[in-house]
């Protein structure tokens, strides 16, 4: 159980293609993250998987059964909304029991399941409260409990952490991940936050303008971006791209270091780096500047670990280097990664 297969799915709103010929298949029990900027179609894709939105074209199957035109209640999926969408007139108990009552489960069985779900998310003491009496974190737990209580085969989450404050978000992320490992239910998670995506996902699906740009593990996405969009969307600050005529040369800011600090068994490339601006961020330093002379795309950032205390000054030039193995080449026209020297 728990596999979603999507083939050639598109969604048109008027003349806009919100989702454009997407193919996607989840693995059993995997945590899949849909990542992209707002308006990239990730939420629309999730809503089509849920059955709330009908695809304009294409097919999809859940657990090997075609569900393209089935209403949500016949898909055995659960969804957590960005707003949590708790029923304001019902107590927490009734909120969690709602999906069970909907399928006509008996009273005693419902009570047991609700208590099980409440215990799992540690909200047993909140069962008699109304949603408006809960804090943001508690609401999120109730929403998760309501989604999990009927043991769906696929679990859909639409930016469930974006309404929490920063401190809570980190602990909620960790909890969510541990919980998903424990129950092992296939999860599709939508976010625009790359830190969330990298931290949570077994695999990440990077989307832009309705299309999938890359599917891969967080490491693949970060180290071997499929195109310049992925290269600059994932990573903060984004990957440096140097214009070299036909190709763009890419390297991560943390691989661009003072020449003495770079060790490359396969060799290094050294540039004179004119520093224009420095930012001290505690654990690290960001150094902004230019390399080369003629090309216009020569602005790069270097990210120095806090342990590297070497003095730098704006307005001066220093020799900086990148190891050859950290260099990526992209086609300038298509933006696609050039295969030579890719992951073997």
């Amino acid at each position: 159980m728990g596999c979603v297969e999507i083939r050639g799915i598109s969604k048109l709103f008027g003349n806009t293609r919100a989702v454009d010929h997407v193919d996607l298949a989840t693995n059993e029990g995997e945590f899949l993250v849909l990542l992209g900027p707002s308006g990239c179609g990730k939420t629309t894709l999730l809503r089509m998987i849920a059955g709330i939105e009908e695809p304009t074209e294409g097919e999809m199957a859940i657990d090997g059964r075609v569900v393209t035109n089935l209403p949500p209640r016949m898909r055995n999926i659960a969804m957590v909304f960005q707003s949590y969408a708790l029923y304001p007139h019902m107590t927490v108990y009734k909120n969690i029991a709602f999906p069970l009552h909907s399928r006509g489960m008996g009273k005693e069985a419902v009570r047991k399941k609700v208590e099980w779900a409440a215990a799992m998310f540690k909200i047993g003491r909140l069962l008699d409260r109304k949603p408006r009496e809960l804090s943001g974190g508690e609401r999120q737990r109730v929403a998760l409990a309501r989604a999990m209580v009927r043991e769906p085969s696929v679990f859909l989450l639409d930016e469930p952490l974006s309404n929490l404050d920063a401190l809570l978000r980190t602990s909620a992320r960790e909890e969510l991940r541990q919980f998903q490992r424990r129950v092992g239910v296939t999860t599709i998670y939508v976010t625009h936050d790359q830190v969330e995506a990298m931290g949570l996902g077994d695999r990440i699906v990077v989307m832009s303008q309705g299309k999938i740009r890359q599917i891969g593990t967080p490491m693949e996405i970060y180290l071997w971006p499929a195109d310049t969009f992925v290269a600059t969307f994932v990573g903060s600050p984004p990957m440096n791209l140097l214009d070299q005529g036909e190709t763009l040369l890419g390297f991560r800011p943390e691989t661009f270091l003072p020449a003495d600090a770079v060790e490359g068994s396969e060799g290094v490339v050294t540039y004179p780096f004119e520093v224009t601006y420095l930012e001290y961020l505690g654990a690290e330093r960001l150094v902004y500047g230019n390399v080369g002379e003629k090309s216009h795309a020569r602005h790069v950032v270097s990210r120095l670990p806090g342990s590297l205390t070497l003095p730098l000054e704006a307005g001066k030039s220093y020799p900086f280097a990148v190891a050859l193995r950290d260099l990526r080449r992209f086609d300038k026209k298509s933006g696609l990664h050039r295969k030579e020297g890719g992951p073997s």
Partner: protein, 317 residues
């Protein structure tokens, strides 16, 4: 400079004028509203109580207190008791229909369709017309000879031919037969309140976040289940407001009955407001008229309290 006590320094904004004195300004601005309420509601209410305890007539409006005998006299009159019953009956029946129909209309108007703005405008139209004019229009619809309703019924063969479903007569005499007259009054009552109730219900329905209904859909609820468990409970407070407003308007209405039937035939459609008018003004017995009208007070007071309570209870999502 810094050692000097603050009160010794020149005051900032010393030239403050009347415009800046908020409490005085507030009193001035609220005064017209208070005056209006006192003059238009307070004074007549006190007068009504005084009249109801007196023996004043239109010919001799001097107030001499005679006790509760006007109430006793009013209550002893079978026409009064019928009016009281009619008022309650017309109000409840019409408002039950209004709640149902306005919910249906509001649900339909939530959907997207062509000419939606125009349809909304047309539905609101009866509310913008003066009640008296609208009711006169209905008077023509119910005319004993020229009723267009009868004309249509005759045309489709339901009326006016031997063996027709509604009889062989050429007309139904809507306002001349007790049962039909009562139905006609209730119909116009419904027609009159429906636009307001629809707008209120529309506001209630569109205030439900879309997320909630989608969540219920994903949670496995059928459309019927969603309506019953989500939409109706969430819109109950605002539906009650629509109902209670309708009750106030219909309970106190004089125009519909006065224009359509003048309480007839033989007082079968008489309501408290018309009976007050016929007794107190046309009949000249001011004191008894006042007593009759005061019978509306407890109901209206109760409804007003309910409205205020419900409005406060409205669920904040």
């Amino acid at each position: 400079m810094s050692g000097q006590p603050i009160s010794n320094r020149p005051a900032y904004g010393a030239g403050e004028g009347f415009r800046d004195r908020e409490s005085a300004l507030a009193k001035l601005m609220i005064a017209p509203a208070i005056l209006y309420i006192v003059a238009m509601i307070g004074v007549p209410f006190v007068l009504a109580i005084l009249y109801s305890l007196s023996d004043a007539t239109t010919g001799d409006p001097y107030i001499r207190i005679v006790g509760l005998r006007n109430f006793a006299a009013a209550f002893a009159d079978p026409v009064f008791r019928l009016s009281l019953w009619n008022t309650v009956f017309f109000t409840l029946v019409s408002q039950c229909f209004v709640v149902l129909l306005s919910r249906l209309l509001a649900t339909a108007l939530l959907k997207k369709f062509r000419w939606k703005g125009l349809v909304r405008f047309l539905i609101m139209l009866p509310w913008t017309a003066p009640i008296s004019l609208g009711t006169i229009g209905w008077l023509w619809m119910f005319d004993s000879i020229f009723s267009p309703i009868d004309w249509v019924l005759r045309y489709v063969g339901l009326l006016g031919t031997p063996g027709a479903l509604l009889g062989a007569g050429t007309n139904l005499y809507y306002l001349g037969i007790p049962g039909l007259a009562i139905s006609s009054v209730i119909l116009v009552d419904i027609w009159r309140i429906l636009p307001l109730a629809t707008v209120i219900q529309l506001a209630g329905l569109s205030s439900i976040p879309k997320d909630l209904l989608e969540a219920a859909e994903v949670d496995g609820a059928t459309p019927w289940h969603r309506t019953l468990k989500i939409t109706i409970p969430l819109t109950l407070p605002i539906t009650s407001i629509a109902f209670l407003f309708g009750v106030v308007f219909t309970f106190t209405d004089l125009v519909v009955v006065y224009v359509l039937t003048r309480g007839g035939p033989v007082n079968t459609t008489q309501v408290l407001s018309t009976w007050t008018f016929f007794r107190g003004i046309e009949g000249g017995n001011l004191a008894e008229g006042a007593a009759i009208s005061l019978f509306m007070f407890p109901v209206l007071a109760a409804v007003a309290i309910l409205i205020l309570r419900t409005a406060r209870r409205t669920e904040v999502v």
